[in-house]
Symmetry: C2
Subunit: 323 residues, 2 copies
């Protein structure tokens, strides 16, 4: 459910008057997404997406996100292009929320990932990393390694009862894994702007090609290969949580063909994948414990990422991922 803020037609028309987008023809709330309110918007100028930023997004970060999207779109990455109003700004207020209009991207995200998705995905991710290079502002990754220990501490603030209710011993397991991950975290790998959340619902396909990358609201400046690790987690596991090396190989080969991975990056894949797995395990665990039962948001199962984490803890090198 992704409409938290109901926008009246009057408010929307007043908002649209700030743009050169013609007259409003239709708008509908979009059910996908969990962080912000999204509407599909049709005006006489075409199709757009209207996003109202809800409380999880820090308004201070919005100019960075929108600036990155504009930078990437101008460099040929098929991501939403923020639309500027008469005043030259793409960010303004609507219904007491920060809001922006971006271009609509055609395409369909894969509900069931297949091996053939992973090569175009890998190539698109590498192209994203290369295109981001010229964007000068940086954003620290709040959900990167420095954020994991505080996040775990907040989830275990009840003495670990909530975590243990989900799975006996879970608090201890995560604490031990996190210690190990942080002790081995690579100090000096190539960094740049990463998407950091490139899950299947953020990648559109048309004709077996990537037609769009969306939802840059976790993007940050961090280790590039960590973004690869996020994708290996999100795209390459079977429903039974076994790792599909065919997908992993396709993703890594296609990525490397556009931006080659160094020996140090390849060697770090296991710990980077461990880090990516624990990052999603931790945020899901925190949400699991702190989402009231009556909430409209569907809680995601933290254990799916605990099981991925266990796999990565057994990986000895890049061969575990199909190389």
């Amino acid at each position: 459910m992704a409409v938290y803020t109901e926008v009246s037609d009057d408010a929307l028309r007043a908002f649209l008057a700030e743009y050169d987008l013609g007259v409003l023809l239709a708008y509908r709330g979009i059910a996908e997404g969990v962080e912000n309110s999204n509407y599909s918007l049709r005006t006489s100028a075409g199709d757009f997406i209207l996003t109202l930023y809800e409380k999880r997004v820090d308004p201070a970060d919005l100019p960075w996100f929108l600036g990155l999207m504009e930078h990437l779109a101008r460099r040929g990455i098929t991501c939403p292009l923020p639309v500027q109003g008469h005043d030259g700004f793409s960010l303004r207020m609507l219904c007491d929320r920060h809001a922006a209009i971006t271009t609509f991207l055609p395409g369909v995200w894969p509900r069931r990932v297949q091996a053939w998705h992973c090569a175009p995905l890998g190539a698109a991710l590498a192209a994203l990393h290369l295109a981001g290079a010229g964007y000068a502002p940086t954003r620290a990754n709040a959900l990167g390694p420095a954020g994991w220990a505080p996040l775990l501490a907040r989830s275990l603030a009840d003495g670990g009862a909530g975590a243990d209710a989900l799975l006996a011993g879970l608090g201890e397991e995560l604490r031990a894994a996190l210690d190990r991950i942080l002790a081995h975290w690579p100090a000096a790998l190539p960094a740049g702007h990463i998407h950091a959340d490139l899950f299947p619902d953020n990648v559109f396909f048309l004709d077996r090609k990537v037609s769009g990358l969306i939802d840059f609201y976790f993007a940050a400046t961090d280790i590039l290969a960590y973004d690869v690790a996020v994708c290996l987690n999100a795209w390459c596991f079977e429903p039974d949580m076994s790792f599909n090396v065919t997908r992993g190989r396709a993703l890594l080969h296609a990525y490397s063909a556009t931006r080659s991975l160094s020996a140090a990056e390849l060697a770090a894949l296991p710990v980077l994948c461990q880090g990516a797995a624990i990052r999603f395990a931790l945020t899901r665990l925190y949400d699991w414990i702190n989402t009231p039962p009556g909430a409209l948001v569907t809680r995601k199962d933290p254990l799916e990422y605990v099981r991925r984490l266990r796999f990565h803890l057994t990986a000895r090198g890049p061969d575990a991922y199909g190389l």
Copy 2:
């Protein structure tokens, strides 16, 4: 929240192969609506709505609903036109649900009703009633007067505790009102096919004209003026539950200009409005009592319609509605 059934892209492509709609370009879940799962669908042939019928809709009724929509659309009513597959049928199965594709209608439904909406609404309702005349099959109104006593009984099956928890004495108030309404229910007013749920979110506007009527899944064969009464309830009350006679007058005048209301229909307006108010009070009350706290559906307040009911019980004739 209106996506109960998640449709995979593979399943959707296989489904679309039954139609002459070209290739799939995009689809998104629509957040509006509470009864069925709705997707906005873009193919190389244009824009459409895909609806999966969830458990509240009796599959046996679907051919009647789709047949009515097709009948109305062919007679110039701007309602969704069911799209037929290669086999000539517009109803088939998808993800274990009955499903249909209909045409997309541009327009915006009014989040905040204003007086100027009510004349085009009244005219559109009358046109709908006239256009429905040639559709021979009938459908009994399960949520018409014959259904209200059983519905109240089910809501009071706990001895009235659930109703009284919402408002002390509510069960008794509804029982007394229902007795009075059924005792005065008009026996012989003009009947035909009614929408029966023409709330603002089912009416699209463009350029101050009605551009679309949607959601015919409560439609039935019943007293035509009862449909007017549903609209007087849904469109003509202020947020403080006072009746806005300017809106009522506009609605009734515009309706009458297209299909004149007889003296008997006008005289029956108070009891028809009482019936319409108790119908929505009763279904909301039933849902209120029977919706588990963790459900994804937002419960609607039954008391909004209890307060409307109280107003209608004081009405002595059509002048209470602005005539």
